[in-house]
Symmetry: C2
Subunit: 284 residues, 2 copies
DNA sequence: TTATATACGAAAAAAATTTTCATTCAAACA
DNA sequence: TGTTTGAATGAAAATTTTTTTCGTATATAA
């Protein structure tokens, strides 16, 4: 009726507050077992939940579908295991093409999962914190120093004073110069890199606001940082999670960058025109 | 009956030869307009095709579904436009969450598209070339030098002598030292970066084998390099293609790396055990 | 307290799906 | 050639599922 399109789960969440008790029961069930609904009739579902078919039907209408069928179809479109077979390990007989597909899919999966976690987390706070920073500095060691340098290249265009250095001694020195109004972004896949943890220590002494990007929630970095952000990358045989994790880190930083740009425009720091120009530059 | 799972379209194709005329008509129709079926009843479909419901029903059974419903659901799961609305531009009213989603989706799309192009192209040759190289060097300038450094970090673990330097003078010097048996990988998003083109000139003089990674087929870099590889990233308002392009570059290099590792194992350079260890290392 | 609205289920109605059965047609066979 | 067999198909019946209608209960506001 109102609308035919996708996004069943999102729609349920949106309408959740407006639902009656019984309807909330239905909503909970669907959110919990969306895959099952797909192969269940309205009778069955109503019976399982101990209510009348019509109650379920009204629920479908309420969240904006033409009926139960329409909801089922939308759900089916939505559920489909996001990117399939991705997690498959690379096997010995695989040809170049197959290996490439698996590598790419693994990277895509990392992005998908990371995004999922990002939107629920403290990402928004991270954006605000950076927008209000007097100065932002990126820290990373080893492979992560490359990500830090990349972030520097991006953020230099926000107009916020930014800095990054791949030398660990310089990093320590630089960290000791930061203050309360500054923000440090620390990148470490494992969250245990000694050099970076050491930098974190200096930063905390100086009350610098800290944002961490890591793959592991239970790590020194993510536990001690003010705002932890997480990548989600899984390891498989013949494929280090570290590879995908870099893609996810990069994307988090992309996202931070664009959001900061937009936020700054809204605060009137820059005109829309200049902003677009800055973002859309071809060469980075 | 036989099976409940996905892959409706594939299944239709598989069974195609065994189908009767009427059934072929149905198959053709579904393959042509899968999205429509989703919102069509079996009656409707039968009528549209000028046949009986039961014929359509039997078709569903024949290709392995429990019935029409089941087929519809499978189709719905399958159709869902791979990653949707991705290309949507970022709008002024978008909140942090929406912007983040768009950024990530844009990156995922870049990977998807890049992979598509990769498998048809000269990627396999690139892998072979690197495997047989005496020495591999990565070149990039500006933002791309970061990608080159990243590649260096990865490939150092292949055991092949690799090198990368972000200073353009050093790059020129280094390029002049390479010879016929060496391979140079040049990275430039636009394919027009002056420094990198200059390096390419030196390399060609020395008959060094060259692999280029760029977003544009009509660019000095991709036209003059021995083996061009392409990223696919589209620009939108408020979102430079350069951002996504880096993710794609990184993934191409990931893929090259893993493939090279595997190829070398097959050539007996390293044991499977050592190889896995090398790839699976947590910290990069 | 009464009126009104909302939530819900029961049952009826409608629609869609699935099954059954009869017919046609063509190939196989006597 | 006539008959049999079996696959393909459609018509109609049976069944299941979905949707609508309507009545009751409960809560809320006047």
């Amino acid at each position: 009726m109102i609308n035919e399109n996708q996004y069943c789960l999102a729609r349920i969440k949106t309408h959740y507050v407006k639902l009656s008790d019984k309807e909330k029961t239905i909503a909970d069930y669907i959110l919990k077992h969306p895959e099952e609904i797909i192969h269940t009739s309205i009778n069955q579902l109503a019976e399982d939940l101990g209510m009348a078919d019509s109650t379920v039907f009204r629920f479908c209408k309420r969240i904006g579908f033409k009926g139960y069928q329409a909801m089922k179809i939308a759900l089916a479109s939505e559920i489909v295991t996001p990117i399939k077979d991705i997690h498959e390990t690379i096997n010995e007989g695989d040809d170049v093409r197959t290996v490439s597909e698996k590598v790419f899919q693994s990277n895509m999966k990392a992005l998908e999962d990371t995004l999922q976690l990002l939107v629920g987390g403290s990402f928004e706070l991270a954006v605000k914190t950076i927008v209000n920073a007097k100065r932002v500095e990126f820290f990373g060691s080893g492979g992560s120093s490359i990500i830090a340098m990349d972030a520097y290249h991006k953020f230099i265009r926000t107009g916020i004073p930014v800095f990054a250095n791949s030398d660990s001694h310089m990093q320590l020195m630089s960290a000791s110069q930061l203050g309360e109004q500054d923000v440090a972004v620390l990148i470490s896949h494992t969250g245990t890199t000694k050099d970076t943890i050491q930098v974190l220590g200096v930063l905390k002494e100086n009350n610098v606001k800290t944002i961490g990007i890591t793959n592991f929630a239970k790590s020194p970095l993510s536990e001690e940082v003010d705002i932890p952000l997480y990548t989600v990358a899984e390891e498989t045989d013949y494929r280090s999670e570290a590879l995908s994790s870099r893609i996810a880190q990069l994307s988090i930083l992309d996202s931070l960058f664009i959001n900061v740009m937009i936020a700054r425009e809204e605060e009137g720091h820059t005109s829309l025109h200049k902003m677009r120009n800055a973002i859309s530059i071809k060469r980075m």
